[in-house]
Symmetry: C2
Subunit: 520 residues, 2 copies
C-alpha cells in the first residue's frame, strides 16, 4: 500500500503554502493496510419481522411442496434420505423447518480464512466484510487493447494488480477465465498463480470434485496437511441452477470442500424474471429455499464445516431478456437476503460492483456504486466481484478494476462510522477560528489533516483549467495509467522455493495425467 | 412521462416471442407520474442516542460560547435581543437549548408546497422526498458545445428538460446562472421562465430582500394574493457563510419569505477542512449550531412559518484545497444530519448527485450515485441538485442531467420497498414452473412483466455485438440523444394568457425601474 500511496501522492500538484505538513503529505502517508473491513455502523433493514417471517415461511413451504433437485449425484440423495428427508428420484423434499434446524445446530457464525501471509488472514462473519475481485469473465478489457479473450497472462496481471490494491482483501478465484489454456487444466494454473503472485487468501476451483480436490491438494502443499484439517484456507462458491436445482458439478466440489473443512458459500444465482419469479418477494423465497437446502447438505456432510448463505440475485430486462445490474430490485433483494442470513446465523456472501456496461463509463459506475453500497448496507461478510466487472460478468476491465478499487476504499471509510473522540469533536478548533474565518491553517487542521479524509485515487478534483492542462482526461483514461503503474511497481511477496517447486511439480504431474480438453 | 416512456420504448429491439404482451410493452407503458417519493423503507441511523446527544450538546455549547454573527442587518439583532438572546455588536449568543425550544414550539413538521398544476403539488416532510434539479452553476456543458457560460436560452432549455423528466418533482431555482443577463435583473427572467415553461413547484430568488420580494410579487400574480397568505408556493434556501455567519443577502431574503409564510431551508454550507473542522463530528456540531440559530430566527419572525433544517456538508482535498464530493465523510455527515433534523422535528433539506468531475464519466456517476443514495438513506425530504451537477457546482451538464435522472427513478423505485402481496410472493408461479425450468413464459410473468421492474432509460444492457452494431456509444453519448429528444418532444403545460401578460408586465416594469448591474 505504501508504494501505491506514495506514487499516487507524487502526482498531486504542489500545495501552495502549508510548509512542512504539505511536504509531508507530498511524500505520502503510508498507513497500515486493513486486512478486511470491520464495520462500525449497522445494517439497513428493509423488511420488518413480519416480512422476514413471511419469506421464511414461504421458503419452507417451497422446500416441503416442491423440494429441490440434486442431479447426477446419488450419494447426496442417500445423505438426505438418511437425515429423514423425503427423497423421490432426484427430488428432495423437506419437512417445515428441517433445513433451518440442521444448519442452526452446527454451522459456525464466523470463521477465519487463512492467507499464507498471516497479516492478510480474513475474519468471515460478524461485523466484518471481505472484498474480493471480479470472478468468472472469459473476456478482459482495457483502453489500449480493447475487449478480447482473456489469457493466463491477463490472469497473472490481474492477480498482481489486485495484490497491489490496498482496499481488496482477497485474491479471489477466476479473476478472468484464461481461455488460452485447456478447460480441464487451467484451474491448476490459476491456483498456482494465486499462490505464487499473491499472499492473500484465495478461492478454490469450484466446478466438479476433481478440480476441488486439486485445490485441496495444492492448499496442503502451501499450508501443510495438518493445518488444513482444522483451518479454512480455500474459499469456494457453490451456485445453484435456479430454480431449485443443484447439479453434480456443484455438488461435487461442495462435498470435497465440506469434507475438508473448507468454507462453501451456498449461493443461489438468479436473474428474476428468468430463473425466479419477476417479483422481489417471490425471488427471495426461492433464494432462501435453495440456500437452506444446500447449507443443510454441507452440515449433514460435515457438521460444523464453515459455510455462508449466498445470494446473487439480479433482474432481466423485460423488453429484451438481457441481464440487468445495479437495479432497484437487486438492491431490495440483497438487503433482505442479508437479514435472512443473519436470522439463520451464518455469514452472508453476495456480490458487489456489477454492471452491464461495455465500458468503464457513467453507466458502469452508477451501477457499480449502487451495487456495492447495497451489499454493504446489507451487512455482507464477503463481497465477490467488488472490482472490475463489466458486461454482466463477461468482461473483467483493467480500468474498471482501478475505478472500483477506489469505491472499495470509500466504503471501507464510510463503514468506519463517525469518530466521536474529543479531538474529532473539535470544539476548541471552532472556538479558536471563530465566526467568518477559515480552518485551513488552524492548529487542529494542521494536526489532523494527514488522516482527516479518505483520499480518492481516481477522482480529479482540480480546477477545469488545471484538468485541461493535464490533458482533460476522463476517469477511465486516468485509470489506464494507474493499473500500468501498479503492474510496474508490483512487489513480489515471494514464495518459499521448496513450496514453489513442490507446487510446480504437482501441477506438472496433474497436467500429464490427462489429455487436454476444451470443455468442462 | 408517457411521451418520454413511449419514445424510449421505441428504441429497444423487438422482443422475440412474447406475442401480445411484447407488443404492448413495445408501445410503452404509461403510468401515472408520482408528484414526489413516498418512502416506504426506513432511514439509516449512523449515530446512536449517545452520539446524537453529544452533537446536540456541542452545538448548544457553540451557540452559548461563540454564538453566531448576523452581519449588516440590525433588525435581526433586535429580534434576537427581544427574544432574550445575548447580543453584542453583531454577535448573538444563546442560552443552552434556547433555539431548539423556540423551533419546537412553532415550526411545522410538514407542509405542502403548491404547484400551479395541483397534480404537481409536493408534500414536504414526513416520509416524503422531493427531488430538485441542479442549482447555481454559471456554466453549462454538453457533448456538442462543450463547456461554456450559461445563457437564459440554456436556462429555458433546462427548465423544459426538467419538466419532461418524470423522476424530478420540482422545477428548482437557478438551474443555471444566465450570465448573459444583468446580475440585478436576471432573477426576474428566471422566475418568469419557471412559471411559463413548467407547471411544477419552483424556488424563489434567494439573494437579498429585493429579489425575494420580486419572487413573492410574481407568486402573487400566479397564485393570487389571498392564496399566498396561507399557502407555501415559493421554496427558498438560505445558506450560512460558515463558520457561524449569516450575511444580509441571506437574512434579507429569509425575512421576506418567513414573513410571507413561504418555506426557508436554513442550510449551513460547509466544506469540512476549510469552513468547518476537518472532522465529521466537529462539522456536525457547527452545522447544527448554524441551522438552529437560523431556524429560530425564522420562527421568531413568524411563528409557525414553514422551514427546513438544511445541510450541505462536503469536504476539501487536503492536498490541493479543492472541494471534493461523493466522499465517505460527506456520506457520514448527511446521514447524521438527517437524524438531527428528525429530532428537531422539522423537515430535512440536503443535496444529491454532486461531483467534481468535469465530464459525465465514471467519476461523475460514482460520486453522484454515492451522494443521492446517502441523502435518501438519510431520510431527506428535499434533495437539491438531484441532477446535472458537475465540477463541484460550476457546471450543469445536459447529459449529466439525463444520466442522473435515471438515478432519480432508481431511488424512487428502491424506496417503494418490497411488495409482499400474494401476487408478489408468487408461490404458485414457483410451483408451476418447477425445478430447472424458467419463468420467461409463465402465466405469472405474463401478467406482471409490464410493471415488474424499474426500467432504466440510460443503461445499455444489450449484448456487446448489438451495442457495437448500434455505434458502441457510452452512457454520455446515449444521453446526448435523449436530452435533445426531450426538448423536441417538450409538452408546453400552457399558461393563462392573462397571467402571462401580467407577469410580463411586472417583469418589464421592474427591469425599467433600475439600471443594469453586473454584480450582486
Amino acid at each position: 500500500m505504501s508504494d501505491n500511496r506514495t506514487r499516487i501522492t507524487a502526482e498531486v500538484p504542489p500545495v501552495r503554502s502549508r510548509g512542512r505538513a504539505a511536504r509531508l503529505i507530498q511524500r505520502g502517508t503510508p498507513q497500515p493496510r486493513h486486512p478486511y473491513i470491520c464495520r462500525r455502523i449497522g445494517t439497513f433493514n428493509i423488511l420488518n419481522e413480519e416480512g422476514l417471517s413471511l419469506i421464511e415461511t414461504n421458503a419452507d413451504q417451497l422446500l416441503k411442496e416442491i423440494g429441490m433437485e440434486f442431479r447426477d449425484d446419488p450419494e447426496i440423495l442417500s445423505i438426505f434420505r438418511d437425515a429423514g428427508a423425503d427423497v423421490r428420484d432426484t427430488r428432495v423434499r423437506f419437512e417445515l423447518g428441517m433445513c433451518r434446524k440442521i444448519i442452526r445446530a452446527t454451522a459456525p457464525s464466523q470463521f477465519r480464512q487463512h492467507a499464507r501471509n498471516p497479516a492478510n488472514t480474513v475474519m468471515i462473519g460478524g461485523d466484518n466484510t471481505v472484498l474480493c475481485p471480479s470472478w468468472g469473465p472469459p473476456f478482459v478489457h482495457d483502453l489500449d487493447r480493447g475487449r478480447r479473450y482473456a489469457t493466463i497472462g491477463d490472469f497473472r496481471d490481474l492477480v498482481k494488480i489486485h495484490q497491489m490494491i490496498p482496499y481488496l482483501h482477497h485474491s479471489g478465484g477466476v479473476v478472468c477465465e484464461p481461455v488460452d489454456l485447456p478447460a480441464n487444466k487451467r484451474h491448476l494454473d490459476m491456483l498456482y498463480t494465486h499462490v505464487r503472485y499473491s499472499d492473500r487468501a484465495f478461492m478454490g476451483a469450484f466446478i466438479g470434485s476433481m478440480r476441488a480436490q486439486d485445490a485441496v491438494d495444492i492448499a496442503k502443499i502451501v499450508f501443510g496437511k495438518a493445518f488444513l484439517a482444522d483451518n479454512a484456507v480455500l474459499y469456494s462458491v457453490s451456485n445453484t441452477n435456479a430454480p431449485l436445482v443443484l447439479d453434480s458439478n456443484m455438488s461435487g466440489s461442495l462435498k470435497v470442500y465440506a469434507r475438508n473443512n473448507q468454507p462453501v458459500a451456498c449461493t443461489p444465482w438468479t436473474l428474476a424474471g428468468a430463473m425466479s419469479p419477476c417479483t422481489v418477494a417471490g425471488t427471495l423465497a426461492q433464494v432462501l429455499a435453495e440456500a437452506l437446502a444446500c447449507l443443510a447438505l454441507v452440515q449433514l456432510i460435515n457438521p460444523g464445516a464453515p459455510c455462508l448463505m449466498g445470494s446473487f440475485a439480479s433482474t432481466i430486462s423485460m423488453q429484451s431478456g438481457a441481464p440487468t445490474f445495479g437495479t432497484p430490485e437487486a438492491g431490495k433483494m440483497v438487503l433482505a437476503c442479508g437479514q435472512l442470513a443473519r436470522r439463520l446465523g451464518v455469514p452472508f456472501h453476495t456480490v458487489g460492483s456489477l454492471s452491464a456496461s461495455k465500458l468503464p463509463d457513467a453507466q458502469a459506475e452508477q451501477e457499480a456504486t449502487w451495487g456495492i453500497l447495497m451489499s454493504m448496507f446489507a451487512g455482507a461478510n464477503v463481497i465477490n466481484h467488488a472490482t472490475g466487472w463489466l458486461e454482466g460478468g463477461l468482461v473483467t476491465g483493467f480500468e474498471m478494476t482501478i475505478i472500483d478499487a477506489d469505491l472499495c476504499g470509500k466504503v471501507a471509510s464510510l463503514f468506519e462510522g463517525i469518530d466521536l473522540s474529543p479531538n474529532a469533536q473539535a470544539l476548541e478548533a471552532i472556538v479558536e477560528v471563530g465566526p467568518g474565518s477559515h480552518f485551513l491553517g488552524s492548529a487542529h487542521t494542521q494536526s489532523n489533516f494527514l488522516s482527516a479524509f479518505y483520499r480518492s485515487s481516481i477522482s480529479d478534483n482540480n480546477s477545469f483549467e488545471q484538468w485541461s492542462a493535464e490533458g482533460g482526461l476522463d476517469a477511465a483514461q486516468r485509470a489506464n495509467g494507474q493499473w500500468k503503474r501498479l503492474l510496474e511497481e508490483y512487489v513480489d511477496p515471494g514464495l518459499d522455493p521448496a513450496v514453489d517447486e513442490a507446487l510446480q511439480e504437482f501441477v506438472a504431474l496433474r497436467k500429464a495425467s490427462m489429455p487436454d480438453q476444451n470443455y468442462f
